[in-house]
Amino acid sequence: MRPQATTPTNLRRALAFLVVLGLSLSLSAKAFVNASNQEAIDEERLKLILIGKERFWHSGTEVAIALLKDDAHSADTLARYSDMTPSKFRNYWRRIAFSGRGKLPRTFNTLEELRRYVRETEGALGIVAEDDAIAGFRLIRFEAPTLSKNAAPSSR
């Protein structure tokens, strides 16, 4: 388990921290994108993508979120960046998709299917467990659950 953020500086951060802590006890997940996607992605942008506010990469290609079905690690990442449980995340995206405001995230049964989708889809953003083998893709990894938009992301 990764260390949680420490010493919130005010009540707002304390409450936000408790929300994240309550939803996400394990943060061993990472995101990855198609190799052709060289865009810098910080936490704020990832969050905007996961809550459907940012629907396109800077290149203009549509973001396609890809998840493993019934995967605890994906759930952790969703909880961390969208503050939603998987079922709430599903209903949230149904609201978006059924009202014509975006496309539902794709879910896959196996890691291989997900990797193939991200490899073949220019705008794909895949979310997998930390120890899943992701070769030939660009990884996006964040070390701690900081909710500050000024947090420095670590991505490569």
């Binding site: 506010k53 290609t61 549509e62 449980t85 059924f98 014509g100 975006g102 496309k103 909710l147 938009k149």
Partner: protein, 420 residues
């Protein structure tokens, strides 16, 4: 007697969007399929049951009815970078409303310059409060029926979408604080058999067995919605405004022989509301934490219009009339694995304008307990019970509630929905 004015109705006129719609769809389909671009579709079908202890609410619920079906098919295409085309065809039956007539719920071209600014052109979903643009999509919530005074399911076609354009976006305004906006301008539809007309003529319809709408159309509607998303995640507060302008309604018929005024009993009439304007203001708040979601909304509505009455052979001078209403609700939702339960309390009060007769105050209070069970991701079952006080939402345009003789009544609703 003066005959009912036949004016082009919004629901039947040849609007430019309607003329070009089929061509638009074919071209887009060809573009997407031929060039293999991104295409996604989905849909839902649901069937339900309504049973009330008294009165007919929405459908013939006093006897118990299964005339409660909805189906929708939506698609989203991405033919170009930053460009999507989104549409949904929707059909429903809700007692005398809908009749499975397929309608384009929305169909618009969306160009997204950035997350801060995007535009939509076509028949666009009207975002107003939490559920106006989601009214048709019950799989996104635990309850079957939305709070009756704030979101009436019979208003679908005139409230859900407008033919015109919209702008939307999200701004970061403070650290971790975002402001979402959605603004629209266009024309909305007034269906002669729809809920808006039913609501407007409810009182009069109880004194005329042959009341008939002979014109219903509207011109401009505009409005917007702001959402402030403070740093505490999944909490948001919203303020929505909308205005429907220059609606025209006309109805004719004969007053019943037992009409309260002996001078009017049995007389023929032609009533017109011109330049009818409806302004809505809605305050919303939603807070989700873990498996809990708390929601509250309040809606204020003001209506003004010029009323003209021709009764028998007497043309009464035009009158400027106003009415207002308020409604609000609070709800709390809890998820337990595949189960969701929601407890909602709502109230509505309405001071209707006098149309020939003084209108009695229309109020209603509703305590609603809803349970949803997701058997699979694609199949959900719902049940809910309403304990209702008041008759403010009981329409009579199809003579479904000619007499209001009880204040307290209950409603049971069941629904099963498949989505794909």
């Amino acid at each position: 007697m003066k005959s009912c004015p036949v004016r082009p109705s919004a629901s039947t006129s040849s609007h430019p969007l309607r003329r070009f719609l089929p061509l638009f769809i074919v071209l887009l389909a060809f573009d997407c399929l031929a060039l293999g671009r991104e295409f996604e579709f989905g849909g839902f079908i649901s069937t339900g049951y309504l049973k009330s202890s008294h009165y007919n609410y929405l459908a013939d619920s006093e006897e118990g009815t299964t005339a409660f079906t909805e189906m929708g098919l939506h698609g989203s295409w991405t033919p170009r970078k930053r460009t999507t085309v989104n549409g949904e065809i929707f059909a429903f039956e809700l007692g005398p409303y809908g009749n499975y007539e397929p309608k384009i719920d929305y169909l618009f071209l969306d160009y997204n310059f950035s997350h801060q600014f995007g535009i939509q052109i076509g028949r666009v979903n009207r975002e107003f409060g939490l559920y106006t643009h989601l009214k048709d999509i019950d799989i996104t919530r635990a309850s079957i029926l939305l709070p009756m005074g704030t979101y009436d399911h019979r208003y679908r076609y005139n409230s859900s979408a407008v033919e015109g354009g919209a702008a939307y976006g999200t701004f970061g305004i403070l650290e971790d604080t975002y402001l979402d906006y959605f603004a629209y301008l266009g024309r909305s539809e007034v269906n002669e058999d729809g809920g808006l007309v039913g609501y407007a003529l409810t009182n009069l319809s109880r004194h005329s067995d042959d009341l008939a709408i002979c014109a219903a159309n509207s011109k401009t509607t505009f409005g917007g919605q702001l959402w402030l998303n403070p740093s505490l995640e999944r909490f948001r507060v919203g303020l929505g405004f909308s205005r429907f302008q220059d609606i025209h309604l006309a109805a004719d018929g004969n007053f019943n022989p037992d009409f309260p005024s002996p001078f009017l009993a049995g007389q023929g009439f032609l009533l017109e509301a011109n330049d009818l304007n409806v302004s809505n203001l809605q305050l919303s708040a939603e807070y989700a934490i873990g498996n809990w979601t708390f929601v509250g909304e309040k809606l204020w509505t003001d209506t003004d219009f010029q009323f003209t009455a021709l009764i028998g052979s007497t043309l009464n001078p035009p009158q400027d009339l106003v009415s207002d209403s308020q409604s609000w609700y609070l709800s709390v939702e809890r998820q337990f694995g595949p189960f969701q339960t929601t407890l909602t309390y709502s109230e509505e009060s309405n001071n209707s304008a006098r149309i020939v007769l003084p209108a009695p105050p229309r109020t209603s209070k509703d305590l609603q307990l809803a349970l949803r069970y997701d058997i699979y991701d694609f199949w959900s079952m719902k049940a809910e019970i309403h304990d209702i006080e008041g008759t403010g939402r009981l329409f009579n345009q199809f003579q479904q509630n000619p007499v209001l003789d009880e204040s307290d009544w209950t409603l049971l609703a069941l629904k099963s929905t498949f989505s794909y």
